[in-house]
């Protein structure tokens, strides 16, 4: 009687209710219902046995839920680890212009094996694009035709800003691929590089790069350098801490949609350099409420 794990209290009408069966012990071991029944002086009462059974079932469900959750957590952890191990890099992608690249273009010439140097430099980097880590290219400040629409409610800057200006320092075709602020090797200036296959003037253009050549005409491209403000248009998902879902916003206030919002320049595991899969237009729908 004393070892009984359930305390059974009759109510004023002499009946036992579900809430009157209380567990006396709080360890995490399974309660042996049979033991409870044996030790129960009034255990022959089928109603009490039924209530004890129900109680036991609830305990079991709770334990099973915890087990399932543990399995889910373990699987998630493995997926995260796998993701880290598999993280693609720029090496070998189309953005790798170096002499060892397996991408579209291979450079040859002094320092042509340094793949980072096509965009970054440890010294004498551009200060024009403050948001960019040590950009090694001249950005173009003017001459762009920005996107406009009669139905757009948010505000677009007059010219491309920050990280987008950096992307355009190749993709607008104005600056040559090998026109670097600080060429690889000693001294600031190195020789010109040659690309294989050849690209006219070493600049991106409509003939050689029909898909990736954006030009300075951005009127047929998704707007960039746009201040993301869902109070101006409720058909957009609100940003949280400078991100809309997994997509980052840029600028000092972390509220600018730039090329880097959808694209990850360093990772082509989701071509064309997308931040996430666009299956089912998921990338579009990360911001847009249709």
């Amino acid at each position: 009687m004393l070892k009984m794990p359930y305390q059974i209290v009759k109510n004023k009408h002499g009946r036992v209710n579900r809430q009157n069966i209380k567990r006396l012990t709080y360890n995490r071991c399974r309660i042996n219902v049979e033991e409870a029944k044996c030790n129960n002086a009034i255990g022959q009462n089928s109603r009490i046995n039924k209530l004890i059974g129900e109680r036991e079932k609830r305990e079991m469900n709770k334990t099973n839920r915890a087990r399932i959750l543990n399995v889910i957590m373990a699987i998630s952890f493995i997926i995260v680890l796998a993701g880290i191990a598999d993280a693609a890099t720029i090496t070998g992608s189309k953005h790798d212009l170096s002499s060892t690249s397996g991408g579209k273009y291979k450079a040859s010439g002094t320092g042509a094996d340094q793949l980072c140097s096509f965009c970054h430099t440890p010294h004498f980097g551009s200060s024009a694009t403050a948001n960019l880590p040590l950009w090694n290219r001249t950005t173009t400040a003017s001459g762009y035709t920005m996107y406009t629409s009669a139905t757009i409610d948010m505000t677009t800057a007059a010219q491309p800003q920050g990280v987008s200006a950096a992307c355009l320092s190749c993709h607008d075709g104005v600056v040559a691929l090998d026109a670097l602020m600080n060429k690889p090797g000693s001294g600031l200036t190195g020789g010109a590089l040659t690309f294989t296959p050849a690209i006219t003037g070493n600049k991106m253009n409509a003939t050689d790069n029909p898909a990736s050549f954006i030009s300075q005409n951005l009127s047929n491209d998704h707007p960039i350098s746009i201040t993301y403000d869902t109070t101006k248009d409720t058909k957009f998902i609100a940003a949280v801490a400078g991100k809309v879902g997994v997509l980052p916003l840029y600028g000092a206030s972390k509220n600018q949609v730039e090329c880097g919002t959808c694209h990850n320049v360093h990772d082509n595991s989701v071509s064309p350099f997308l931040r996430a899969s666009n299956a089912g237009s998921a990338l579009c729908l990360a911001c847009h409420i249709t």
Binding site: R65, A66, L69, N70, M73, Y147, S149, A150, T151, I152, P210, A211, I214, S219, N220, D221, H222, C262, S271, P272, N278, A279, G280, S281, C284, L285, H288, I289, T290
Partner: protein, 228 residues
Amino acid sequence: MNNCAVRIILLIISIQISLVAFMAIAQAGVINTKHNLSSSAPGTNTFKLAPGTGTDQVCVFCHTPHYGSTTSAPLWNKTVTTAVYTMYSSATLDMTIAGQPQGISAACLSCHDGTVAFDTFLNAPGSGFSKQGSWTWNGGKNDIKTSTSAYVSADLSNDHPISVTYDATKDPAFVVAVNGRVNGLPLYGSGRNQVECASCHDVHDNTNAPFLRAANGGSVLCLKCHIK
């Protein structure tokens, strides 16, 4: 893991599930409508790509982030139609109709006139720059001509006028527009005074079939503009 941690995690998961469920309910969206032509479309759609074929991207049939049309709706991904349209005319019409469909209506017609195939793009999905998907929909169809109700054709003489300059001063039997809207229905064009397909239709939302901006019970949609 103690019980307290388990409970907190369960709570977080259940909140997330509820949020996702709520968003699915709260957003009508184009995904579950006939305007989803992709392989991820609802199974009941007439024009649905077979699973695993073509593309599962929904937006791409009309919009593209790059190389879109600048003359039509936002970043329109369809080739501009070359059709010559027969516009609506009437002896009793007082407002002015443009010579051919304008702006957003031209975009709608780039599918609904039947001259441009569903899989003809300005920029087809995926990396690279192709304009043609070369896909087929149920039974080999790839344009709207086989549809009996959605095929508007290039003959617009039997359709409500579009690309009409809405001007209630020309006809007092119309409600005056306020800030480019007539009782909530939007007007288009740079002057925000053009009646286009989208004045009555919301291409992204089929809550009020067929893609109406509001339910038309009691003809309330008609009566938002017309004083009868």
